[in-house]
């Protein structure tokens, strides 16, 4: 199965870092879309189907949390897995994100192997399960 990915961050460097990590994860990637904030991400999501969203939290115009909330309100986007990529270490923030339906939290800086493990689990389920297809 090939995947379509959306990377949301106001930093072009971070978008490139995540893009590189996605490529290194060994997944079959069909398309990678990028957005500079939550509002741009919603616009992309309205015109492109994606299999997974990687988003920062603190962005101008629309934050990552506002993006997740907007996706949850939108029926068709509510099941799209979201992975938050952030340097914010707060446990309460991580718990809040879980309650909002965020599938995983990846703290920066991250190692490629840690990134790959999280992406595989989100897209394909825990090891031993088969969700591909």
């Amino acid at each position: 199965m090939s995947y379509r990915v959306l990377i949301v961050d106001d930093s072009s460097v971070v978008r490139s870092m995540v893009k590189k990590a996605v490529a290194m994860a060994g997944l079959d990637i069909e398309e990678v879309h990028e957005a500079g904030n939550g509002r741009e991400a919603l616009e992309k999501l309205q015109s492109h189907w994606v299999d997974i969203v990687f988003t920062d939290l603190h962005m101008p115009e629309m934050t990552g949390i506002e993006l997740v909330q907007a996706m949850a309100r939108s029926g068709v986007l509510s099941t799209t897995p979201v992975v938050v990529v952030s340097s914010d270490p707060s446990e309460s923030r991580v718990e809040e994100l879980r309650r909002l339906g965020v599938r995983a939290y990846l703290k920066k800086p991250f190692r490629p192997e840690g990134f790959r493990a999280i992406v595989e689990e989100v897209l394909q389920g825990p090891k031993g399960e088969s969700h591909a297809g």
Binding site: V13, S87, S92, R93, K107, K108
Partner: protein, 152 residues
């Protein structure tokens, strides 16, 4: 100060962040080497039980090398110049995560702002100031200071 942190501990967090994120190796330096060329300054506000600001100064050349390492690009790549400020801001963002965790602990409600990068001017004003030097002899100044009443 938002909470107590020694300059030595701040320098350790800088070194750990640079190594983990970009394979850049740096150590505390006293006295620090001179800056080479233009100097950039990245600042970022953070909040938890109290508020503060974190800042990092480095040469434009260091920022370009940092961008190359973060992105896996050749230092001669023409795109590096446009990415260097963003790279410096991103390192401060990552460093802020470590600093906030150290200052307030994982259970605290915290927030990290968006980094701003500009040309450096004047003396570093921080009350917690650390100097480092990279393996290549690039100087890094990092400091923390209170920012009362301002939101991240």
């Amino acid at each position: 100060m938002p909470a107590e942190m020694s300059p030595d501990r701040l320098a350790e967090l800088v070194a750990e962040t640079l190594e983990e994120a970009a394979f850049v190796f740096a150590e505390p330096a006293d006295p620090p080497p001179p800056f080479h060329g233009d100097v950039l300054e990245a600042r970022l506000r953070f909040a938890g039980p109290s508020r503060g600001e974190l800042a990092l100064r480095a040469s434009a050349g260091f920022a370009e090398g940092l961008a190359a390492n973060l992105l896996g690009m050749e230092p001669s790549d023409p795109e590096i110049g446009t990415r260097s400020r963003d790279a410096l801001g991103e390192i401060v963002n990552m460093l802020a995560g470590a600093v906030v965790l150290e200052l307030f602990g994982p259970a605290a409600q915290t927030s990290i702002g968006v980094p701003a990068v500009r040309g450096a001017a004047g003396a570093a004003p921080g009350s917690c100031l650390a100097h480092l030097a990279t393996e290549e002899g690039e100087r890094l100044d990092v400091w923390l200071q209170p920012s009362p009443g301002s939101s991240p």
